[in-house]
């Protein structure tokens, strides 16, 4: 299958995603320039991590106006899988493709470290291959990853099973200490109504190879591949 990886000015994990998709998982991959309007036949779109437009003003605030985002929105509406990682998650919430917002970490500091998280639903193309309830280890790298939404929205997300991942301790318990950035309900990733758009703060692209000491990130990519090829 073919992954399209959007390059915004200031993206900096586009090569990381490309490497995993192409060289680790042996799938097709291409870069999509933010000023273009075509997805070049991609079966899945990735909005990679980084600092689009420097993250000046607010993370993702300016990227949402890039021409490609109209095309991405249409693709998502038609049910195409869209995965926003880190900055990509921020862009998805700013664009309204996902509810809520990501605000500054409670500690005010950028945080780069390994965390554990729990898969909350396997009912999405990004999580279908992950054993239910499994605790994964993944790195994060962000300064603004604190998930916020109003009470009504949070309730809906919970009820509709759209919380995809939550930060937890190594045994799967949700605790104050295992929530690195103060996210409400310990949310690490959410889905849209239809389940085909996921925003995700951790970096599966940084843990998909044995030489990096952790391959848990593969599960997310492999889930999308299975879901797409199963069609």
């Amino acid at each position: 299958m073919k992954f399209g990886i959007v390059v915004f000015p200031g993206s900096n994990c586009e090569h990381d995603c490309y490497h995993v998709v192409k060289h680790v998982l042996r799938q097709e991959a291409c870069f999509l320039w933010h000023k273009d309007r075509t997805l070049a036949g991609s079966d899945c779109v990735i909005l990679p991590g980084g600092f689009a437009h420097g993250d000046y003003l607010r993370c993702g605030a300016m990227a949402k106006f890039s021409p490609i985002m109209e095309t991405v929105a249409r693709f998502a509406k038609e049910g195409g899988p869209v995965l926003g990682i880190c900055n990509g998650f921020q862009i998805l919430t700013e664009s309204g493709l996902l509810p809520g917002a990501l605000v500054r970490n409670r500690s005010l500091h950028y945080l780069c470290l390994d965390l554990t998280l729990r898969v909350e639903t396997t009912n999405s193309p990004f999580t279908a291959q992950i054993p239910p309830g499994k605790v994964l280890k993944m790195p994060v790298g962000h300064g603004e990853g604190c998930y916020f939404a109003d009470a009504k929205t949070l309730k809906r997300l919970e009820v509709e099973g759209r919380i995809a991942f939550r930060y937890c301790d190594s045994k799967g318990n949700l605790t104050e200490e295992s929530n690195p950035n103060g996210s409400l309900l310990s949310i690490a990733g959410v889905l849209n109504e239809r389940g085909n758009v996921m925003g995700f703060m951790p970096h599966p692209d940084r843990c998909a190879e044995s030489i990096l000491g952790n391959e848990d990130g593969r599960l997310i990519f492999e889930s999308v591949i299975a879901a797409t090829q199963g069609h």
């Binding site: 000015p9 200031g10 900096n12 994990c13 090569h15 990381d16 490497h19 995993v20 060289h23 991590g49 980084g50 600092f51 437009h53 420097g54 993250d55 000046y56 500091h109 950028y110 945080l111 780069c112 470290l113 790195p139 790298g141 300064g143 970096h203 692209d205 940084r206 190879e209 030489i211 990096l212 000491g213």
Partner: protein, 743 residues
């Protein structure tokens, strides 16, 4: 200010620009007339300490700079080595000390920006940064603010540009109270056959200005800020610090790398300190040409900028590119794509002069060769300080031996100089680009090279106290320790870069320290066959006549043949045996322990035998390369006891050990002395024989200390159990010291 309202140039104005009267006479002789105001500005920048290295050049010549791996030695924007597979590693370290003291966040941020440009200007994609930091006394009221700001600035800039910060070092000492140090190393990867240089060749080729617009940033920053000491009353005279724009830098990086894939570039150089002036003069100088500049075409962001200001501006995120005639449109196109300025501002000329035009007038006309090569070369007086002998002595009689070793160990582990740096490095994105095989926290960071079986190991090291007590030995030890850190990751050292941070060079004792350190580095480099390929000198780290500890920071890069064998410093297997390569002497002089437990900064440094050092390192590298070893950690500040404790602190699960050290005269010296050339290894017992054989062949001393296991650290000295402490109890002070202090 129009030209006719510019101040008249005379000796006083030249002196105010930091030129000496002899230098001013030389300027007049070169021009055959009195310089214009703009010309005076240009000379004062080019001949400042910062640009001309006038005090240090005669000394730096003593460094070994060659080797079969060296593709580019000192003299360019950065140095380059061959790392196999047609690839080159390009690296350099630079200081941003003074600006970081004035405005820690922006000072440190723009320091990162500057060194990144030095790397990608040569055609390399930056893939890793390290930072070496020195702060004053923890009690000093500004230090928290400074550390928080510096770390924030390095993170803010580096993370945004997407270059991982994978390692570094931090130390505290009151000598840095008025002058903190912020040294940043960056390394990039390029194709060995496509390294770009800063040279203007081919008269008629275009000179392009690319990047951000020019403002009145830091005019006279390089020459004044980095070439004069701070005095208490100079607060108001301090020029403004620049604000960094990492987003613009990221665009500039991508645009330059894209342009470098074409054949449009003849030469390229970043406009860092001394901006348009140094980039044009140096490129013309290296190319043996001249440059004509038309300042009316320089993109500016402020109104009414004068030629003087444009030539002296230190606005960040800019480059000067010599473009092959006929390729101009390509350049414009690429920079338009990235929403950056990319405009021709002049031409390479045959005449050998830098000619600057503004509003139809020629405002400067300077022969390039004499200003570039004719910069003053000073042989500053040197004198060994009278107090040097005294601080080198240590009388241990009457100094009480350690009474409660576990308490002493916990004290060391919980001190700001030795505690965990995680509070710092978790603010740095150290994983972006997905190459970081060994993350910060081990002896050296390891970066894999995609598409190659090799990995690179990187480290920075320097012990300022050592260099104060004995500059020559201290500098030798810095080189040896850096190389030992690489060896512990399994890497063979290839080359080094340095950042020589010293006080006021006009003081003979500072110059002596400098010269001694240069010789120390040179000696160690020759013995270990590690060339110096780039570096930086920062003088005037001095406040009110009091200089910092001499701090010649060493940044070193090594190669690991098989990236999969990269080694970390943590015990990781129950029942592994613990072995010491090297031997523990009883050397307390200069140690962290003496300084902390007895407030004593004195004594002869531990002896460094470079032959022994090499043997130990080679044995370690060979053992790792053969896959015999589970962990390797060097013994440095805090001695073997601290090294053992650190080895127990595996980030994914602690593991204890029980060891026995040979008894001696002083327990404190055995546990906490800093004898050089020691590496702690852990390995499966069945590999012991092979390791022993390697050590015999290499003539590296070898001793079996004990075994890994359990949840306590137990150290026996001779018959006596001196430490038997739960790891949780040891780790708490180590892990909490920095965050607790920062609160």
């Amino acid at each position: 200010m129009s030209e006719n309202t510019e101040p008249a140039v005379d000796l006083n104005l030249a002196l105010a620009h930091g030129l000496s009267s002899e230098e001013y006479e030389k300027v007049r002789a070169i021009l055959g007339r009195t310089p214009s105001y703009t010309e005076l500005g240009i000379f004062s920048l080019m001949w400042s300490e910062h640009c001309s290295y006038k005090s240090s050049r005669i000394h730096l010549k003593r460094f070994p700079t060659t080797g079969p791996q060296v593709l580019q030695g000192p003299g360019e924007n950065a140095g380059a080595i061959d790392i196999g597979g047609g690839l080159a590693a390009i690296f350099k370290m630079e200081s941003h000390n003074h600006p970081s003291y004035v405005e820690p966040y922006q000072g440190a941020a723009t320091g990162v920006g500057g060194i990144l440009r030095d790397i990608f200007t040569m055609g390399a994609r930056p893939i890793a940064s390290l930072n070496s930091l020195r702060f004053g006394s923890p009690d000093h009221p500004r230090m928290r603010y400074l550390l928080g700001g510096v770390v924030g600035g390095i993170a803010g800039y580096g993370n945004c540009v997407g270059v991982p910060t994978v390692g570094g070092e931090v130390a505290f000492h009151p000598s840095y109270n008025g002058n903190i140090l912020v040294n940043v190393l960056n390394l990039g990867i390029a194709h060995a056959g496509r390294i770009f240089r800063g040279q203007a060749r081919g008269p008629g080729n275009s000179v392009f200005y690319v990047g951000s617009r020019t403002g009145r940033d830091g005019i006279h920053g390089a020459s004044l800020l980095a070439s004069a000491s701070f005095e208490a009353d100079s607060q108001t005279k301090r020029p403004t610090v620049q604000v960094g724009d990492p987003f613009a830098e990221k665009l500039l990086l991508e645009a330059c790398l894209e342009l470098m894939k074409t054949d449009a570039i003849i030469g390229i150089q970043d406009m860092g300190a001394a901006g348009l002036t140094s980039s044009s003069v140096e490129m013309a100088g290296r190319g043996g040409t001249g440059i004509d500049l038309d300042l009316d075409r320089v993109p500016v962001r402020e109104e009414g900028m004068t030629p003087y200001e444009m030539m002296l501006s230190e606005s960040q995120e800019r480059m000067l590119v010599i473009v092959r005639r006929g390729s101009e449109e390509k350049v414009r196109q690429i920079f338009r794509k990235w929403d950056l300025e990319g405009v021709p501002v002049g031409e390479v000329s045959a005449g050998g002069s830098l000619r600057v035009h503004f509003r139809g007038k020629r405002v400067a006309d300077i022969p390039v060769k004499p200003i570039a090569d004719g910069a003053p070369l000073l042989k500053r007086p040197m004198e060994r300080p009278a107090w040097q002998d005294e601080v080198g002595r240590l009388d241990l009689t009457g100094l009480k031996d350690v009474v409660h070793p576990p308490k002493a160990l916990k004290g060391l582990l919980g001190s700001l100089n030795l505690c965990s740096r995680e509070w710092i490095y978790r603010q740095y994105d150290h994983m972006v680009r997905t190459n970081t095989v060994v993350r910060p926290g081990s002896d050296a960071a390891v970066i894999r090279i995609k598409g190659s079986p090799h990995a690179l190991a990187l480290t920075t090291d320097c012990n300022g106290r050592y260099c104060y007590l004995d500059p020559r030995s201290g500098a030798r030890i810095a080189v040896a320790e850096a190389s030992r850190n690489l060896a512990c990751s399994g890497a063979v050292a290839q080359a080094l870069t340095d950042c020589l941070n010293f006080g006021n060079p006009e003081r003979p004792e500072v110059m002596w320290q400098f010269s001694e350190c240069v010789d120390g580095i040179g000696e160690a480099c020759r013995a270990l066959e590690i060339p110096v390929i780039s570096g930086n000198v920062s003088f005037y780290n001095e406040t009110e006549g009091k200089g910092i500890f001499p701090t010649p920071t060493i940044g070193m890069v090594g190669i690991i043949e098989d990236a999969r064998l990269a080694m970390r410093s943590f015990f990781c297997k129950e029942a592994d045996v613990v072995v010491l390569l090297g031997e523990t002497g009883e050397e307390l002089g200069g140690s962290e322990y003496l300084s902390q437990a007895h407030r004593l900064e004195a004594g002869p440094l531990p002896v460094l035998d470079l032959e022994r050092e090499e043997a130990v390192q080679l044995a370690c590298i060979e053992a790792i390369g053969e896959g015999l070893v589970s962990s390797a950690h060097d013994c440095a500040e805090g001695g073997i006891a601290v090294a053992l404790a650190e080895s127990c602190f595996h980030p994914e699960g602690m593991l204890g050990a029980e060891v026995t050290l040979p008894a001696g005269r002083r327990l404190d010296a055995i546990l906490f002395g800093e004898t050089q050339s020691r590496i702690l290894l852990s390995l499966p017992k069945f590999n012991l024989g092979k390791l022993e054989k390697i050590c015999q062949d290499r003539e590296a001393p070898f001793s079996l200390l004990g075994a890994v296991g359990g949840s306590r650290l137990k150290i026996h000295v001779g018959e006596e159990a001196v430490i038997n402490t739960a790891l949780t109890e040891l780790k708490r002070p180590w892990a909490e010291a920095l965050p607790a202090w920062m609160v």
